[in-house]
Amino acid sequence: MSYAIYLATIFCIYAIAGVSLNLVVGYAGLLSITHAAFFGIGAYATAILATKFGADFFLAVLVGIGITAAISWCAGIIMSRLGGDYYVLGTVSFNYVVINIMVNWDGLTNGPLGIPGIPKPSLFGFSFSSNILFLVLSVLFLAAVYAVSYWITTSSFGRVIKAIREDEEAVRVFGYRTISYKLAIFMISAAMAALAGGLFASFITFIDPTSFNVMESVFMLAIVIVGGFGNIKGSLIGAFLLVLIPELLRFVGFSADIAAYMRQAVYGLALVLFMLYRPKGLIGEYKL
């Protein structure tokens, strides 16, 4: 039972990452491979504020979201000067920059040793220390992120970012300052990833840079690709499948170590197969 609760919580965290990444990749058409960096900034902000300054989880997450939004705005400004394949390379490079800062800024991040002892959330003296309560909190956060994403994608704003995905130049001619739209969705998405990162840090209680490298960004992208571009429901399905399937490998005789490597192989294989045979993903509305 506790294993199922653990998996359900991990699903919620990665579903938030997937839904938020879909806003940028599936709706705005910006192929970003840096989501784990924003996830990591949120996680580190929460961990540092909670362990070094004794900040409350909710305050720490809120500050983490603010810091991530500010950093994503700066990154978005620079990235907006890149187009097509260069944009993809730019986002990958940004992920590397963030990882290097996490590894090398020992005084703040504790470097490769990571930060242990991250406390569980508590609110007005009520602690979410048990796994089931943490799951409830994660479900609430996922529901909030899903509702906000639904609100955005069904608004005029959502329609415009889809149009930008289709033909940015044409959208500009019809009166839209497209950079504002792209920056806004990039920031909103990064802020949601930071929320997921904060949850992750508090749930696992230990973080180090390896949880936020480019491979993790690819994993988050795989959630979007498998579930489907431009459909936030798809990201829920993608997260469900990609969190659960590798876990099933444990039950077919693989050891924990081998299962970890197999996990990456499964993501790689899933990506190739989907891009070949179902480029829109399971219930996607858009093809790259």
Binding site: F157, R159, A163, V171, V173, G175, Y176, R177, Y181, Y286
Partner: protein, 252 residues
């Protein structure tokens, strides 16, 4: 009267090639001005410059008396200018209805977050889609339409564009870049009807077209370009009968 477009000494250089060479002309309202010329003569380049997609290298553009040496694409609609593209550029993986709603709704990113299309937007979209016989196809993806229907949808989108979502004010200057190419006769009839209606509504219409029959039928005035230079400007019968125009166009 709004919709007066003037171009003075317009220059556009692509590397060592002068694509537009000191071009000067004006487009008056309540008229259809045809622009003709052989391929590469600079017809579409002019439209791309005037809608901000290409920077101009010299000269000045005046819209209703306001002079511009730099045209920002996202400001073009607020000057009352709208267009279609030579190669169709729809929002292909969006529905026919959404293609129209995009140009009807709020341009401000923050306000757009709180805006949902309502009965007013739907009514406006219906009006424009019915004008090109595409209302029944409103829930289909633009990419699934036939070539001619996609051309018509692009025309409907250009007509639907407003200067701003709040004003709801239509454009005054319309650029149609080869709108008749590849259309069946009944579709071409719809497009010529639209162009004539715009003229009646006192709009300035610029028509780039290769079909001389259509140009002669619809245009009040014709500009002939050759290698980025204006070689003739006048009424269709005079201009199209000129020997230098025939030579430039047909290479005789």
């Amino acid at each position: 009267m709004k919709g007066v477009l003037e171009i003075k000494n317009l220059v556009k250089q692509f590397g060592g090639v002068r694509a537009i060479d000191s071009l000067t002309f004006s487009i008056p309202p309540a008229s259809i001005t045809g622009i003709v010329g052989p391929n590469g003569s600079g017809k579409s380049t002019i439209v791309n410059i005037l809608t901000g997609l290409l920077p101009l290298d010299g000269g000045v553009v005046l819209v209703d008396g306001d002079a511009f040496k730099k045209i920002l694409p996202h400001k073009v609609s607020s000057h009352g200018i709208t267009r279609t593209f030579q190669n169709i550029r729809l929002f292909e993986q969006m529905t026919v209805l959404d293609n129209i709603l995009v140009v009807l709704t709020d341009r401000n990113a923050f306000q757009a977050l709180f805006e949902r299309h309502g009965a007013y937007h739907l009514k406006k979209a219906e009006e424009f889609l019915r004008r090109v016989n595409l209302w029944e196809k409103r829930n289909e993806l633009a990419i699934s339409l036939s070539y001619g229907q996609r051309k018509l949808l692009e025309i409907a989108r250009a007509l639907a564009m407003t200067r701003s979502a709040t004003s709801g004010q239509a454009a005054d200057i319309y650029f149609f870049d080869e709108p008749f190419a590849g259309l069946f006769p009944e579709m071409a009839k719809i497009v010529s009807g639209i162009l004539k209606e715009l003229r009646q509504e006192k709009k300035a219409v610029v028509l780039i077209e290769h079909d001389m029959g259509i140009i002669r039928e619809l245009s009040d005035r014709i500009l002939v370009l050759d290698a980025g230079k204006l070689i003739a400007d006048g009424n269709p019968d005079d201009v199209l009968g000129r020997r230098d125009v025939i030579e430039a166009y047909l290479g005789e």
